[in-house]
Symmetry: D2
Subunit: 340 residues, 4 copies
């Protein structure tokens, strides 16, 4: 029997991120209770169900949505299923936490946001970096005027190694798959919309990436509506680990976030003074952010507030990604208003 | 019914540290199962029991020791109860994790270690810092010869604020209460025994600390049996937070551990470049170390190995502490052999 | 009587930089001897002549060029005089060290480079940053393959405060006056030519800067002929001091140069851990670089080698600057081939 | 003919430090004029005289002292000559800058200070580190109360490599030769006298150092008259370069000085993030401090003020050094009052 003081949750998808969410909901968020998981992989589902005492396993999300004790769903299945699941969940009056991206087509996103809006359920999109303790504090410092009026935003965002080519083929390309997080970060930190974007790209790491029409290296110029200028640089392969730095420069100074390192050891030897490399990848770097975003989602249901990352926040970075693609194809700056 | 593949654990004491251990055993250590908690505070015990589905609550440790499904006990009650509980637990053939110090009297420790030895149970003492990821790696680097032969050890260990005077009165003084961790760290990192110690102290922070015969500031010189020299400095009050740094210098260089900070923000403003202060105190700084020490204890039971912190490791820092006290009273270096 | 083993030097212009060069030539470069200075400010000239035992003071550069003991001239007068002086000096068979920019018009630069070439004298242009110990080592590390193949170049270059509006009016604008150094740095570090450039700008600091048609904030995208991507950000006003950082990212890692600070003090107080701000401006930050560039010039005369910064190196950044201007005017990427 | 507005200086000794002083006096201190140098090495003297236009070369300091245009002498000859020269200089009414130590015998120092006092000339002792920009600012911060009341002083002072054994034999040992600078630094920073000292030492680097009765590694505890505690650690051989760090901890926080590095390069590669090692040795690290101490000496003559490092400042570190020696011999804390 479900505890009525808790938010009943169903989790759809038990891949890497789905499993992280299940663990957090079961172990670290006392106000939530996972009542059902939906997975095509029955073995993993069974293991998770036993480890975390989850009463129901389903293989189709409709079964999960039929569970009347479920108040909210976490959509962590593959991107191509998000639209259908989100719309069905909204119609079933379940609040929705949906992993990014909602979809790769703007039209499909718009349709889904409409259905969600009509149903009145909450929708939070999984831009986890907004909940990273560093970026959260950075945003607060900017908002409070620590650096006065912002003038320049710099984002460095580099992965330790590229995903498999098969994944890249369906990913929508570097801007929709990887830079999308940086576009979200830019909007989050500056608190304004991007007006125009200019992107350049190159293939340095793996010629196959070029053969599927993608880039592994990119530099992007942003111009916000309020005139603030920004620049993002991306690489699919930083051999030294996950490189996630941001700097915001303004009329009263500069605030920056550096990389997180796993320890504070310094070795000072004959050939130099050596410190540890950044944490390897997003699972390590954003470990706590994944927990905090889910806590925030559950809390927004309990106290009935707007989620911290809205449907609109889920849509606009996709739009910016298409502008970046158009910019690189036509080698010119592209206004966001050109992308609908 | 207890899961026979798991280590059944009883936890005695539900104060700050006891609660941390219960949480870790219940949430993060799948091989352990907390079957009973013993507490004088029935309200806290009830809350913990409900939150973590702990089947038994007791008010006297003997009841807990009578539980035949319990394989091991965690002793996190007040220091003056450790001896009696540890001896009873050993006689009841329960493995023991005992918070430091085992006792403040060397004779009582010796007696207890004898009882433990005869009973054949395992005993691990709660020197949590040995499990801190930074110090663990530091020790490995030294052991592997990264800095060649060590010559000098420097430990800085400062608390953010002194404990209440009432606590200080029964604590055994700064060397037995606070520096004891640094003495353990010194032995752990250098892998050798201290031969002689010289201590000086002062009262800077609160005259009341002096009135109860204690010091709030201390500088200690260590000489190891193998000739390595060491120095420790302690303060009961670093206004900028918990200061826990170690540096080991040797024939091939130097390795050091710095303070852990809660974020990687840098603000560069008109008046300077500002970074965040160290984590506030031991609960934050050694959060993960508390989990790792308990995992290590459970693991030592399962695979039947010697605990990573032995009874001897629990005794010797107390002995060093008495040598420090004698040194400060007589203002002269004191050999460890003088303290029995 | 001039020492025949030394290079006889005449210095034209006794402003801030001219004075720095005179000091270095007289005090720190034993192989050089300043024989004449040319200045419109007779008072300063007299003071300098007395302090450094300089035998001749002139008010017109022709008098200086007539001095047969002079082997080389340092041109540190105002930009609009460079062309005439450089051509006259070349015709008088004097080697030339010319402050940047040679001129603001490409045609005038080309003409001057022709005259210099025909005369056979050496010409070194004053891109002092190439001689900064940090950037020098950075360039060597890149050249030696420390980071493998470079993929991304990031330059941050911000002044502590804008120059007077009267100066800005004749400066050629931010790209020709300020970014020109970064264009040179980009070419120096990457060892390849820029193919295309895209620039955006804004007026954040002083509306007057906008009124004279200039920008005080800029973000620039570079694409090199070999495909390497780069980004530069500029501001005329960093309240925390001169901000001069470079990062080069490549297939085997990343090398970066940070800001130089005047001391290594850290204050760890209740409100944060505070370190010192960067050195105030170019005179402080590039103090030693100004000496090293002059030593290098004198040395290139003595051992008869090509100067480390050639006439071509003096011209191309101007060309890039015009491309940046065109880019910002037409809001599109501009190929260097469009600028002649 | 001497310029009457300048301080006429004679320099005695043209070894490494003497040569540095001559260079500074001739090139960088316009208010001083070197009129004579005294050296047993006529070749070096001739070279220096020619390079810096020094009119007189002498082989005995008395000839130099006879020069009536000389107002002040710089004593940079070997330690065993200091006493005789200083006394003769005082009797000749020349102000004195004397390299440390004035002498190794306290009685000889006392006698010399008496002669100096009677003569009325100024005496500055060459504790150059007081003029290091970092330590100077550290001392000011402490004096201004940045850290409130100081509680603990930590000095790390390690040389890159030991001097030749022949030198060590006559050096007075590590405490009089090397730690003497740290004793001076301790007094300078804390602004109080040391009351008691405890020293331990070891021979780690070269057994020959032990054979001549000296140590190459030492840890020292200081207790100041006002109760402040201090600790110094020394090594004759830090393979990573000259290690000169100081930290002062007090009621309101902590200030520290780190090592100076030759550049700001960071290489972030597969095996770690690597920064540059400290400057190699004192000539590099204290380059500017040597200039500033000499400027300060000349200035104290011109404006007739007390030198920044007095005869007493020259004596007390020697006294502390003897206390350290006695402490290590008798393995007990030694009061400064025991050393006369």
């Amino acid at each position: 029997m479900k505890d009525s003081s808790k938010v009943g949750v169903g989790v759809i998808g038990t891949g890497r991120i789905g499993t992280v969410h299940i663990k957090h909901l079961c172990q670290n968020i006392p106000n939530a209770e996972v009542l059902s998981i939906c997975s095509l992989d029955t073995k993993i589902a069974k293991t998770l169900s036993e480890r975390y005492y989850i009463p129901q396993i389903t293989t189709h999300f409709n079964q999960l949505l039929d569970n009347s004790e479920i108040d909210a769903v976490v959509v962590a299945s593959s991107t191509d299923t998000h639209i259908e699941i989100c719309q069905a969940a909204a119609n079933a009056r379940k609040h929705i936490f949906c992993e990014k991206p909602i979809a790769l087509e703007l039209k499909a996103i718009d349709d889904t946001l409409s259905v969600v809006k009509e149903s009145g359920v909450k929708l939070q999109v999984g831009f986890n970096r907004r909940f990273d303790v560093n970026f959260l504090r950075l945003q607060e410092l900017i908002r409070k005027g620590e650096i006065g009026v912002p003038h320049i935003l710099r984002i460095t965002s580099r992965d330790p190694s590229p995903p498999p080519i098969e994944y890249l083929k369906v990913s929508g390309g570097i801007f929709l798959d990887m830079t999308i997080h940086d576009f979200d970060m830019a909007r989050f930190l500056i608190g304004d919309e991007i007006d125009e974007i200019y992107a350049v790209g190159n293939v340095n790491i793996d010629p196959e990436i070029g053969q599927v029409g993608d880039f592994d290296t990119a530099v992007i110029t942003l111009r916000f509506k309020n005139g603030i200028l920004g620049t993002i640089d991306n690489s699919r392969q930083a051999v030294y680990g996950y490189d996630q730095r941001v700097e915001v420069f303004g009329s009263k100074g500069m605030v920056s976030v550096g990389n997180s390192v796993p320890d504070t050891i310094t070795s000072t030897l004959k050939n130099g003074s050596i410190t540890s490399l950044p944490q390897h990848f997003f699972i390590e770097r954003y470990k706590q952010a994944y927990l905090l975003e889910m806590e925030s989602f559950i809390q927004s249901i309990i106290v009935d507030t707007k989620p911290k990352v809205t449907g609109k926040d889920g849509k606009i970075p996709i739009q910016i990604g298409y502008a970046a693609l158009k910019s690189i194809e036509e080698n010119r700056p592209v206004s966001l208003s050109e992308i609908q």
